[in-house]
Amino acid sequence: MKHNDLGGYAPIPDRVSQAYTRSALNLKEEPMRKRKVSMALVMAMLLILAAVTAVAAALLSGREFVQEVMQPKAQESLSAQWSETEVQELLRIAGENGLTLSESQQALLLARGGYDKEELMRLFVKLDLGQDPGTWSIEDQAWYGQMLMDIGLYAENHNTVPEEGEATEAQMLQVLQTYIHDRYDPDAPLTDETVYRQLALSWGVVPLIMKEQTSTDALFEASVNETQAASIVRDGDLVVITAGVPVGMSGTTNILKAHVVGDPA
């Protein structure tokens, strides 16, 4: 709310304006170094860089880290929890391999003092395979379930790869699609605006209609994007998202997520 009649207060003199503009346009890309860097130092740095690049090639991925470091470590004790020293050591090794957890995950970790074995392993696997285990390939899901069973954290593994003579993933998908198509009217309109109109009458509610999403991750992302586009929230705002799995079915609300707009899901 700019008051135009006050616009006359302290107008910037031309010479100040020009001097400032010149300074802004002449900013140096890097802040000036106080010391001169010697050629020898540059050579040494290049060598270190080369060495680091060589090591980088041998770094473990999130999945490999879980498989080669965390799994053997998990099998050392029968507990379902990591001890604090174990967590510290694992985070150190992970860091050496360039694997880092987000700040919020780390804070949670330190606050608890201990950590669920499965939960921490899942965080690292997610770095590679994606946030939603349901979207991992069935081979990856099978590997993960089998590993938990080997460690003794799970009694059985429901995520198995189809064997000889069993239906393949593609066949199962086909069967399900046919079933849904036969059972439900494929022409029925999926967006019913009744609820939208009713919500518009509720105090403090701003209803928006968005495209249908197929996964919870996509749903969260889209809902944040839509509200942001509608200028209801902006980057840095803390929002609470609620939804239901399975997505697209009413009456299944069972998820509550606190999310900071602009952060990756």
Partner: protein
């Protein structure tokens, strides 16, 4: 992190506002330019610490205010002699009435008033720039308004409502 071009353009776009804010503290053209350039250099060197570009303007203004205060502090250590005349023109003559009134506000009211009413920052943004609370800003802005109203001969809120 912001690139050089975006950074420079956004800073340049804010130059009038920055000058007003600096003026409301320093009331001297040369010092204002010093503060603005110093703030620009510091902000640029620390640009990595700005995590959200949406806060660029409040962030830069905050740095500017700090620079102005540093200059004010340094000046207080010098013994003041009369200002030499500036290039043959005196600011007092060219100054519009409103400028004189705003400049006459006590410093503690002046800066919040300029930030909120002239520069258009919200109460919350102003509070963040001044490292104080929203209610303190509201209070000072109101006092500034009432002072100006009284100077201009308008009735203040209470009197206007016949109380």
């Amino acid at each position: 992190m912001m690139n050089k071009e975006t950074f420079a353009n956004r800073a340049i776009a804010m130059r009038q506002g920055q000058y007003r804010i600096a003026w409301s503290i320093l009331q001297n053209e040369a010092d204002c330019l010093d503060a603005m350039q110093e703030a620009l250099a510091k902000a640029w060197a620390a640009r990595a610490s700005l995590r959200d570009e949406a806060y660029f303007s409040t962030w830069l203004v905050r740095i500017l205010i700090n620079e102005c205060k540093t200059i004010l502090r340094k000046k207080s250590r010098h013994v003041l002699v009369a200002d030499p005349p500036q290039d043959g023109f005196t600011t007092d003559d060219a100054m519009p009435e409103i400028q004189r009134l705003v400049d006459d506000l006590p410093p503690i009211l002046r800066l919040p008033f300029v930030l909120h009413h002239i520069e258009g920052y919200s109460i919350k943004e102003t509070a963040r720039m001044l490292s104080t609370t929203s209610s303190a800003v509201k209070n000072r802005v109101l006092r500034a308004r009432n002072t100006l109203k009284a100077e201009l001969g308008y009735a203040t809120g209470k009197e206007a409502r016949g109380l």
